[in-house]
């Protein structure tokens, strides 16, 4: 291969260069700013993770699988997955191969930024080499791949249902400019490369093009304008990119290492939170997934709109959206970039100013401490029912009965009322106050001499697991605990009549990853049928304490929708493992709703 031009330059590369320098500069400055917005400890953690072999490898793997192959989208819908990975991976390969080509044939040009992109314009082939043929074949192959993705993208604009999506967001004007320039880049590239297919080599795509469209492609007067157009399309795309949803492409490459470093959201708008906001491409998958969206009025309160309004700095909307959410976590479960909707919202709630702050320091817990205190003993169990269970006493009664049947030495911590676990306060973004409740509860628990703390409320369970550091005391949810009793032979379950469906409470399933234990228990007690959407995809009952502003009258549709999902297999009973879900479902269910503790209690002697 030889240079067609001794200078190795043509003015049409200038638009591309401008775009490239701009977007690279913008992203580098942005990335540095984000890293500096992290607090000191997080920044150190992040930088250390960048030189730790394990996380380096994980970063590379995750970026490859998520940003290029889009594995999560494949799982959602094959067409959607193919569309994204063909464009992302295909384009990536075109860039990589372009550089390899340049290295192999024109090593003296490698330092020219634009050379690999416009390789076919600048070189002419002087002898037919096998290596060249393979390169040209691969280049055409990946170009075809990208083009097929673009065709799908155009179809998707018109008929999104084909791609498994009911509702999606409307792109802004700049988004559309970005989108159309992206669509144009690749057809223009095909056209431009076809001009030179007979002099600098081509393959199965470009050579036939060159022959088929002889009238246009044969006229070399058209050649430079086409290369100009290609370069300008690239320039437009790169120049608008920072101000469109496509900013998600570079941001996600930073978000993944952030997450792998184990960062959490510390500031509502900066650092990790900001990376999440800008990583959201506005795909709208979270709209269909959100339980609130059964009501049209709530569609604009889903996570994608939170991200959008944070980008735009619309404080009023940010507050409304943050306060309405049930914090059920389903949007996070479906989100391909992993935007943590609940944590993002709690962070927004935490920066609010209150004229009056809660203060629990004056609460005298000595009586409660005395009522549970005992000598430490390895078999002793402390049962904490929590506020919600106090509203559904059937559950705590069933638990006590189970304890007695299994001969467990237990104490009931909040039989006559107690303190809240602190999770609702935490959900309201009042971290300081939550810490005080945690400190007080911890003191009581540590005085009890128990080695195991059993909780029948998943809301409590989550906060106990994540925020109470109870040295030497095991924290278990009652589903896990009862299964342990059964496995140890202390509790014998008898199979009964009638089928049951199990509802995965958000806080237990998505929140704590407990899916199997309740099912194992129920299978021993009777026939277990599954809901249409279950486990990670389970639908929130609508009763969640997460929402601050949704009144109970506004939750009926959400609950009914969740119920319809549960009864798809026509079970005789609905079983859940959360007092709040039980209470909420029982309001509208057409069949009995019970807690798993009651089920287990009914099926044991």
């Amino acid at each position: 291969m030889i240079d067609r031009f001794a200078s190795g330059f043509d003015p049409f590369v200038i638009p591309f260069l401008i775009g490239m320098v701009f977007v690279l500069g913008y992203c580098i400055v942005g990335a540095i700013r984000l890293v500096f917005q992290l607090d000191h400890a997080d920044r150190k953690r992040f930088l250390v993770s960048l030189i730790t072999p394990k996380t380096i490898w994980k970063n590379i793997k995750d970026i490859f699988l998520n940003c290029l192959i889009h594995v999560k989208l494949w799982k959602r819908n094959k067409l959607l997955g193919y569309m994204h990975s063909s464009i992302a991976f295909g384009w990536f390969m075109l860039i990589v191969l372009g550089h390899i080509e340049c290295f192999v044939y024109m090593p003296h040009r490698v330092k020219l930024f634009y050379y690999p992109i416009f390789f076919n314009y600048f070189v002419a082939e002087n002898e037919y080499t096998l290596r060249g043929a393979i390169f040209f074949f691969l280049m055409d192959f990946f170009l075809l791949m990208v083009l097929s993705g673009i065709v799908l993208a155009i179809i998707k604009r018109v008929r999104s249902r084909l791609f498994g999506m009911r509702r999606t967001t409307r792109p802004s004007l700049l988004d559309r400019i970005g989108l159309y320039s992206l669509w144009l880049i690749f057809p223009l590239r095909l056209l431009a490369e076809s001009f030179t297919a007979h002099i600098s080599g081509g393959s199965f795509l470009t050579i036939p093009m060159n022959m088929l469209f002889k009238a246009f492609l044969g006229d070399h007067m058209n050649m430079l304008p086409t290369w100009w157009a290609y370069s300008i399309a690239l320039c437009v795309f790169m120049c608008v990119l920072p101000f469109t949803r496509y900013m998600h492409i570079p941001t996600e490459m930073l978000l993944i290492p952030f997450r792998n470093a184990g960062l959490t959201i510390k500031h509502a708008r900066k650092g990790f939170a900001k990376a999440q906001v800008y990583s959201c491409p506005g795909c709208g998958v979270c709209i269909d997934a959100c339980p609130m969206s059964v009501k049209k009025a709530n569609i604009k309160d889903t996570t994608v709109y939170l991200n959008r309004n944070i980008r735009r700095g619309n404080e009023k909307r940010i507050e409304e959206i943050s306060d309405k959410c049930l914090l059920c976590g389903k949007c996070t479960a479906v989100c391909q970039v992993g935007v943590d909707g609940p944590q993002m919202r709690i962070a927004q709630r935490s920066i609010r100013n209150y004229g009056l702050d809660q203060d629990y320091t004056g609460f005298d817990i000595s009586a409660m401490k005395a009522s549970v205190s005992a000598e430490p003993s390895p078999g002793r169990v402390l049962y904490f029912a929590g506020c919600m269970t106090a509203l559904t006493p059937a559950i705590s009664q069933a638990m006590e009965s189970v304890f007695r049947k299994a001969g467990v030495d237990y104490a009931f911590m909040d039989k006559d009322g107690g303190l809240c676990c602190g999770r609702p306060v935490l959900m309201a973004g009042r971290f300081e106050q939550a810490r005080e409740l945690i400190r007080k509860n911890k003191e009581i628990i540590q005085a009890s001499g128990a080695s195991t703390l059993v909780l029948s409320c998943p809301i409590c369970y989550k906060v106990f697991r994540e925020h109470y550091k109870l040295e030497g005391i095991r924290v278990v949810h009652h589903t896990e605990y009862m299964l342990e009793l059964v496995k140890a032979g202390k509790l014998v379950l008898e199979k009964g009549e009638g089928s049951m469906v199990y509802h995965d409470p958000c806080e237990l399933g998505r929140g704590c990853g407990v899916y199997e234990q309740p099912r194992e228990l129920l299978r021993q007690a009777g026939e277990l049928v599954e809901a249409a959407q279950n486990r990670e995809m389970s639908i929130c009952c609508g009763g969640s304490l997460g929402s601050l502003t949704l009144g109970f009258d506004k939750r009926e549709d959400i609950t009914r929708n969740a119920l319809n999902n549960l009864v798809s297999g026509d079970p005789a009973t609905i079983v859940t493992a959360c007092p709040l879900c039980k209470g909420t479902f029982a309001r509208y269910a057409d069949r009995p709703v019970e807690d798993i503790a009651e089920t287990v209690n009914r099926h044991t002697k």
């Binding site: 609010r352 209150y354 009056l356 809660q358 602190g422 609702p424 502003t549």
Partner: protein, 110 residues
């Protein structure tokens, strides 16, 4: 309609010394506050009740009657557990009412 005569305006003297600023502001952002029928369900279920005598019913009443410092003491003990909201027969989102109150307390001075 003009009959050519009318009733003379009321000469009742309003001796109420209550400053309604806080209550009016509350009703502005939580119109549901007016719906409370003082049934006491919220007081009966309140987690904070045994600790501080907290009761949403008494808070609403207190603010209506100008007993703001008493209300303040009660509000400070609320653990936001949401039980009161679940039992309120009038469907008042009491938990949010509490948060709103905490937000507007001392708004005038700020």
């Amino acid at each position: 309609m003009d009959f050519g005569f009318s009733i003379s305006p009321s000469s009742t003297i309003n001796l109420d010394k209550v400053d309604f600023t806080l209550y009016d502001r509350l009703c502005e952002i939580e119109p549901d506050a007016k719906k409370c029928m003082a049934c006491g369900s919220c007081s009966a279920t309140c987690t904070a009740g045994p600790w501080t005598g907290m009761s949403v019913r008494k808070v609403i009443l207190g603010i209506q009657r100008g007993k703001e410092s008493e209300a303040e003491k009660m509000l400070k003990g609320c653990m936001l557990c949401g039980k009161c909201t679940m039992v309120c027969p009038r469907g008042i989102n009491t938990r949010h009412l509490i948060l709103s109150l905490c937000r507007i307390y001392g708004e005038g001075e700020r």
